[in-house]
């Protein structure tokens, strides 16, 4: 053992960023799965219960079930990505306050504190995709089987767009909550509104009775993203106009996010 300084090969900033991001993401997942017995199950239980409720309300009570068959697959294919978005953004409201001690003692690039939330929730989302497959296979034995379409190839595009959007919103929300604590509640409320404002329990096509709504709905970036996810089983849900608008908006939101984050980070570090 010597106290002399070893010559260590320096890493590039990008490699360090990836390394730190991965460490924190792995830590998040490890903490979550080592402290609860059901671990993985919990991360899919929430969307499953919600899907069960909506399925029951809409197909059993209201006997709606026109067009989107099987409705349970239709629901879950948007509910799971929604769970990713929803979870990341609500965690982003506490991104700085929960890790204050660690942030005060390490100088890793600050965007990691938000990016790690998007990544860990994203990994949980990927791990929950088999649930869609399970329901699709089950539907094979019913009157309305789900048919896998070429649109399934659009899944990666949807994931990338959603990651960009979620990161962008997170970068805006996380620092602002430090200054305006009320924002935490406002965000919760906005998320609940957004849930119904996005095509999750319904489809984009359901809006065509209200032409003006249909046009403006495209400016919810989640519409385009969910339409890409659903293209795997429901080709009529794929709207390239919505996808295009959404892609532009995702980049704009990320741009604004980076800008807000840069301008506020000085003050955030003093505040926490």
């Amino acid at each position: 053992m010597s106290a002399a300084i070893d010559v260590r090969q320096a890493r590039t900033p990008a490699a360090r960023y990836r390394h730190s991001l991965w460490l924190l993401t792995a830590r998040d997942l490890k903490v979550r799965y080592s402290t609860s017995f059901l671990g993985y199950f919990w991360s899919i239980l929430d969307p499953l219960v919600m899907a069960g409720i909506y399925w029951f309300v809409f197909t059993v009570i209201f006997q709606r079930g026109v067009g989107h068959e099987p409705y349970i697959v239709f629901l879950i294919s948007a509910l799971l990505p929604w769970t990713w978005f929803n979870g990341s953004i609500s965690d982003a409201t506490r991104a700085f306050t929960r890790e204050a001690k660690l942030i005060r003692s390490t100088k890793i690039p600050r965007t990691i504190w938000v990016a790690r939330l998007v990544l860990s929730k994203g990994i949980e989302f990927l791990a929950s995709i088999p649930v869609i497959a399970v329901f699709a296979i089950i539907s094979e034995f019913t009157a309305t089987p789900a048919k896998l379409q070429w649109g399934a190839l659009l899944f990666p595009l949807a994931i990338i767009m959603q990651a960009v959007l979620t990161l962008g919103v997170g970068l805006i929300v996380a620092p602002l909550v430090v200054f305006f604590r009320d924002l935490e509640r406002a965000v919760k409320l906005a998320l609940r509104f957004l849930f119904y404002a996005s095509p999750i329990v319904y489809g984009i096509a359901d809006l065509h009775k209200h032409p003006s709504l249909e046009f403006w709905a495209a400016f919810n970036p989640l519409s385009g993203i969910f339409s890409l996810y659903r293209a795997a089983f429901f080709p009529q849900e794929l709207r390239w106009f919505d996808v295009g608008v959404s892609a532009v908006l995702c980049l704009v939101v990320l741009g604004i996010g980076i800008l807000v984050f840069r301008r506020t980070i000085h003050a955030v570090l003093k505040e926490i």
């Binding site: 300084i5 003692s105 390490t106 100088k107």
Partner: protein, 256 residues
């Protein structure tokens, strides 16, 4: 991070360079803030409810120097340390640190309650830039130094507060970074461990490290440091040898 650190070439450029740095805080945490405030980028104005914790501070540190920061409570010592650690960013001027830093500031901050000691060591060392293989090589030594061998798989939250500090110090002081920042962490722990920490710091200084040390303890300051920085009311009042700085401090504030 080359051999120049070892003093091969003496006309080296400074490892730490603080130029006209300033940082301001709000006096009242609850005072109103609006969006306009937040995005008004200019660092020049001081609003009524703000004060400069540090202002117009300039100095540079050559590799291998051991610097003690002296001043009364609330005169900006810890803030200066945080600026050098780059966990806070100056509103004015610039702080440049050209080498890796091992910050003994809030050392237990990176540890996660629910994870085991082993996982925590890998996590904290990794966040400070160590590779898994490097950590594995030093792992036994870290554990031995912390005297914590029986608790490797115990969740961190079940450790006593003394053990927590010991393991944290053991990890951070093994980071092999050329710059060491110490912020009175050593006030904790029993006497024997404190002495052990001090020996480790001395060893590291002999190994050519640069140190930045904040303390109220005159004996410790004289033991480790060669140069002193005296901060008063947010300004750098004196930058001289540690003895000179301590004498001036005593003269100003009459501590025996």
């Amino acid at each position: 991070m080359t051999e120049t650190v070892m003093g091969v070439s003496t006309a080296v450029r400074p490892v730490i360079e603080v130029t006209d740095a300033g940082i301001r805080f709000r006096r009242n945490r609850l005072s109103r803030r609006n969006f306009k405030d937040l995005f008004a980028g200019s660092a020049r104005r001081t609003r009524a409810d703000e004060f400069w914790a540090l202002r117009h501070v300039s100095f540079s540190v050559a590799p291998g120097e051991a610097i003690g920061v002296v001043g009364r409570n609330g005169q900006g010592k810890s803030t200066l340390l945080k600026l050098v650690a780059e966990v806070m960013l100056p509103d004015d001027g610039s702080v440049q640190v050209r080498d890796g830093v091992a910050p003994l500031i809030e050392i237990t901050g990176g540890f996660v309650d629910d994870l085991s000691v082993r996982d925590n060591v890998y996590l904290t060392a990794g966040l400070h830039g160590m590779k898994n293989q490097e950590i594995a090589e030093r792992f036994d030594e870290i554990i031995e130094f912390a005297e914590i061998g029986d608790f490797l798989d115990t969740p961190y939250k079940h450790l006593s507060s003394g053990m927590r500090v010991r393991i944290a110090f053991a990890v951070i002081s093994r980071l092999e970074e050329p710059i060491l920042l110490v912020d009175e962490v050593l006030a904790v722990g029993d006497k024997a461990f404190k002495e052990k920490c001090y020996r480790r710091i001395e060893e590291m200084l002999e190994g050519g490290r640069t140190m930045f040390f904040v303390s109220h303890n005159e004996k410790d300051l004289r033991r480790f440091c060669t140069r002193g920085l005296y901060l008063d009311k947010g300004a750098l009042v004196l930058d001289a040898s540690i003895d000179e700085v301590l004498d001036r401090y005593d003269a100003d504030y009459g501590t025996p």
